[in-house]
Symmetry: C2
Subunit: 327 residues, 2 copies
């Protein structure tokens, strides 16, 4: 079944997040929360890093993908699932499909990171390449859905996906019950929407912030103009955040999110390296975006308790942003 339309879909509610958590419990990792005394001292605040880079398939995307796949009827899933993705959602859906013994078809732009293409293939997915435009992706997907009868699972503009992504914040708030802020990256908006829905139910006083690369500022513009704006060929290093909001995620963000903050490419790279050096963990550039928003605006967060969702850890290790060349 192919449709990009979300006319009949509604923003998920807290109950959906809670049900998602129960549904996916046996499938996902309950990821750890890391802290660094040095970072806290330098920023004069308490930072709590929810490590979704340790999630299965290396990104939070697995939560939503598993929730979607487990929510589908036998009838819907029997011919497989399909999606378009530049990376982590593709691998996540491929792996999630295995939970239902079904097949995944992933349409990926030719310029997707090699590490992410290989990941989807390693989980047994069939990867179909397309030109790196939104239209080419949608056309490619439509063709594959018509040909195979696979069920389309949108990477973010899908209630089951959004509800699944909200379970990371739910875990974090249950573990650290005195957060003042939660900051997440925002690309398509699935993580930010799910996080906001969960957080505002569990702790209505928590402030929710989306962090976005200045070079892919569609969420920032949409948030301030009040209408859905598109990302114009974004070139940010944060490859997971080059997508634009969808109708559902835009509604959820408008309703629940307190602010969108922008960061520069230099700030993203510095924040990424700082996390690698201090926490000794690999995060991908998209994960560094909320870190950058906090550490380069530390005065605003002084003395407060900040939860940051590190969205993923799938990095092209031959090509790090702070080294000048690669083989």
């Amino acid at each position: 079944m192919y449709t990009e339309s979300t006319e009949n879909q509604k923003i998920p509610r807290w109950d959906d997040v809670k049900q998602a958590a129960d549904r996916i419990k046996g499938y996902i990792h309950k990821t750890p929360i890391m802290t660094s005394q040095t970072l806290n001292r330098e920023n004069e605040s308490q930072l709590f890093f929810k490590c979704e880079n340790f999630q299965k398939t290396g990104a939070f995307k697995y939560r939503g993908a598993v929730n979607s796949v487990l929510s589908l009827s036998k009838q819907h899933i029997k011919k497989g699932v399909a999606t378009h993705s530049s990376g982590n959602h593709g691998a996540a859906l491929a792996s999630a499909a295995l939970c239902r013994q079904t097949h995944a078809y992933i349409v990926m732009p030719e310029n997707a990171a090699a590490v992410k293409i290989t990941a989807a293939q390693n989980y047994g997915a069939q990867v179909i390449f397309c030109a790196p435009t939104l239209k080419a992706r949608q056309d490619g997907l439509e063709r594959i859905v018509q040909k195979t009868g696979a069920y389309f699972v949108h990477p973010y503009n899908n209630p089951a996906i959004i509800a699944g992504q909200g379970t990371a914040a739910m875990e974090m708030i249950k573990e650290i019950n005195y957060l003042d802020y939660i900051v997440t990256p925002v690309g398509g908006g699935g993580l930010l929407s799910g996080t906001a829905i969960a957080a505002k139910h569990l702790r209505p006083d928590i402030k929710l912030i989306g962090a976005e690369p200045r070079l892919a500022d569609d969420a920032f513009r949409s948030f301030h103009t009040g209408k859905l704006e598109n990302a114009c060929r974004p070139t940010t290093i944060a490859d997971g955040l080059r997508t634009s909001l969808g109708s559902l995620t835009f509604s959820a963000i408008n309703k629940y999110v307190d602010n969108i903050m922008l960061v520069s490419e230099t700030e993203i790279i510095k924040a990424m390296r700082m996390i690698w050096e201090r926490l000794k963990i690999l995060i991908e550039p998209s994960s560094a975006v909320p870190v950058a928003a906090v550490i380069f605006n530390s005065i605003r967060f002084k003395g407060l308790n900040i939860g940051i969702i590190l969205s993923g850890g799938n990095v092209q290790l031959d090509r790090l942003p702070w080294t000048q060349s690669a083989p």
Copy 2:
């Protein structure tokens, strides 16, 4: 007080490890144990990674350093502590000195990794450079001890250091009580000795293996010839393992260790990258040595439960072994 002599020193016993654990409890991180279903499937064994890369100062060395510093009398410590170190022990002692509000002097070879020099300095240590030979290190240290009156804390040939390092294995065995093997890197032998002492007391049937780079195979040779052999200008990428065993660590290893396994430089680099990609954590080349020993000899470990101590995570991020050039 300067002495490289260990004539009056004895191998620590289990009680010393236990007392060390109580002494350092409030100072160290109880590090997590990580696992990977994919790695387990690929190796047909259960691998448990004790993440000392998450230890304070980024390496297990902090355990021994804190135990030593806390064990010293007021009289001994009042003029500071001193050591020679190419890296992690220097930073660890520098940081440990702060627990007793005293000063650290670290003699380092000129070719030590920049990241390790900076680390020691960031903890307030005075770093004194010397030529990259054992003699130059010892001479440099003797001069600084005579000049300052600082107390010499040997990087590994010291009972309090060995006992402190043994606390990592103690934690691991308490958490996973069915290990068949523990594999650690071996350089000077402090970690392997301490691990062996703790493990053989707690679970006499556990097999203890030291993993060593073929390019710095002094422990392997000493183990097999039964006399203390020196490393001859070792050039291995595992910079933490270029040192030779000491008299104490040699005795402990002879007494408690079951085998020493050698790995090649290529195997070290492959194992390091594999851990980065699969576990999404940073480990330094020395940590990859026991990983390489296990995954490149997987038939020997088939079906067994293997504890691997990942010794540290201090990596020169501008210069990764799998990229061809650096800025």
